[in-house]
Symmetry: C2
Subunit: 286 residues, 2 copies
């Protein structure tokens, strides 16, 4: 998968350089796209395509489009009016380099371009393009990521119930992760019942991912994480360990990993790579 | 067309109310969508469909989607980091009512939802949906409206050439107006050569619209405009009258109106309504 990350990053650079527009916005968009990160979403998408023995190339546009949406959400989240973060992955955030107005526009530009990238691709059918655009918009808009971000903001500084917490994570991060898998399945040519199992897989994987995040903020190694730990406690954030205690959170993590793997086993394609990724997510240390 | 505006506004309300998401973001999105305005983009879209004797209903999703994109751009333009406007059409701007973070998210939500609305429509074919999403993204993203907004910001406080000014207007406002017409033509089933003529028509109409805007900022009636006039001069903004003097701007306006009408005449469908709208734009007083 290391190789695929490189391919996606090269492709992202090409998508920006071929844009006809003012240099400064291209530079601002590129800055955050190339700022690294785990690239977990494009990898999930490509690994799901691979399960269908389809060529990775068929999913490159969708993988890049997905990373654009994820990146736009980080740029807007970091803004002074939102989380007001100066650093992201050890580098100055977009608005610290380009100013607030340009950061807003770079986010808007990435979000808009992500839909253009899907529809202009020559390897996908019209039916696939419509399915992808529709699902991406639903999963990242007010019924998905944007809705989760709003719920997260509204929940700040009050104690959340487990149900509140689950709603926030399912939407704020879970739905775009789910899209990653479903987009790969759509491109791979999954049947309706396979899509349903992939949906169950991805939802459980998304929650597991978030629980692991919460655990790492307490038990993680600052050096491996690349950021200070303990910020959830400092910020009085409701987390899985704070609501369930540490052992409860770990049990829940393993239960979701198990659900995810069961769903994978119900799909008659080669999901070996996805299974490995699922195991990695349960024990990842950054 | 009064009737069609009402239909679009009712439909916009329905699109928001059927969203499954936090109430506050739905309310913030709805607030700006229902804040009025000339609705010139949906009207252009529907009038172009009407030229093909197609039913207006077929274009309702695209018309609402278009108004969502226009509205998102106004919300983000008004933000403190951008134009820092407290009032829009006589009402407090979105961030004045809902706060800056929510206004950013309401804009993001509207932009994202606009693509969902097109792809979820049941009256359009997959081919039409792909064409519409692709064109809307191109016209409103870094190669269109967002790019124009960036160029406008970069051009502030320096004297622009006519070429700079034209680039800004063609992108910042012109491309979404062009999309309005082309979207209607795509839904109406226009041929390739008809699309080309509609493109010429819309580009000229867009420039004419902007020149008239600049003229009204000098010669307009404050009461009819609903906002103070003379702000371009106060803000040292380069405008058509400032670069060409008033008579030059008026001559250029009429030349573009003429080009627009010539293009319309080259299209063998009933463009009578579009012709009337073109004449109105040349003499509008708000």
């Amino acid at each position: 998968m290391e190789k695929n990350i490189k391919i996606v990053e090269t492709e992202l650079g090409k998508y920006i350089s071929r844009l006809e527009g003012p240099d400064v916005i291209k530079s601002a968009m590129d800055y955050s796209l190339q700022a690294g990160g785990k690239r977990i979403r494009p990898i999930l998408l490509l690994a799901t395509i691979a399960a269908f023995q389809e060529e990775i190339e068929k999913g490159l546009a969708a993988a890049c489009s997905l990373e654009m949406v994820h990146t736009y959400s980080l740029i807007h989240d970091d803004l002074p009016a939102m989380d007001n973060d100066d650093l992201r992955r050890g580098k100055p955030t977009n608005h610290k380099v380009y100013g607030e107005a340009m950061a807003i526009l770079a986010g808007d530009g990435l979000l808009t371009y992500s839909f253009q990238v899907i529809t202009e691709d020559t390897r996908l059918t019209n039916e696939q393009k419509v399915q992808l655009v529709s699902l991406l918009a639903k999963m990242s808009g007010p019924e998905g990521m944007v809705g989760g971000q709003v719920a997260d903001m509204e929940g700040e500084n009050r104690k959340l119930t487990l149900q509140d917490l689950e709603y926030i994570h399912l939407n704020k991060t879970g739905k775009l992760l789910t899209y990653s898998v479903l987009a790969g399945a759509i491109i791979g040519g999954a049947s309706r019942s396979q899509l349903e199992q992939f949906d169950i897989f991805a939802r459980n994987l998304g929650i597991a991912f978030q629980i692991r995040d919460d655990i790492l903020d307490i038990e993680g190694d600052q050096a491996k994480m690349g950021k200070p730990i303990g910020s959830d406690v400092t910020n009085h954030k409701s987390t899985y360990p704070s609501l369930l205690n540490m052992q409860g959170a770990k049990d829940k993590l393993m239960a979701h990993i198990q659900h995810a793997k069961t769903a994978l086993n119900n799909i008659e394609v080669n999901t070996h790579l996805l299974e490995q990724m699922t195991d990695l997510i349960a024990v990842r240390d950054n």
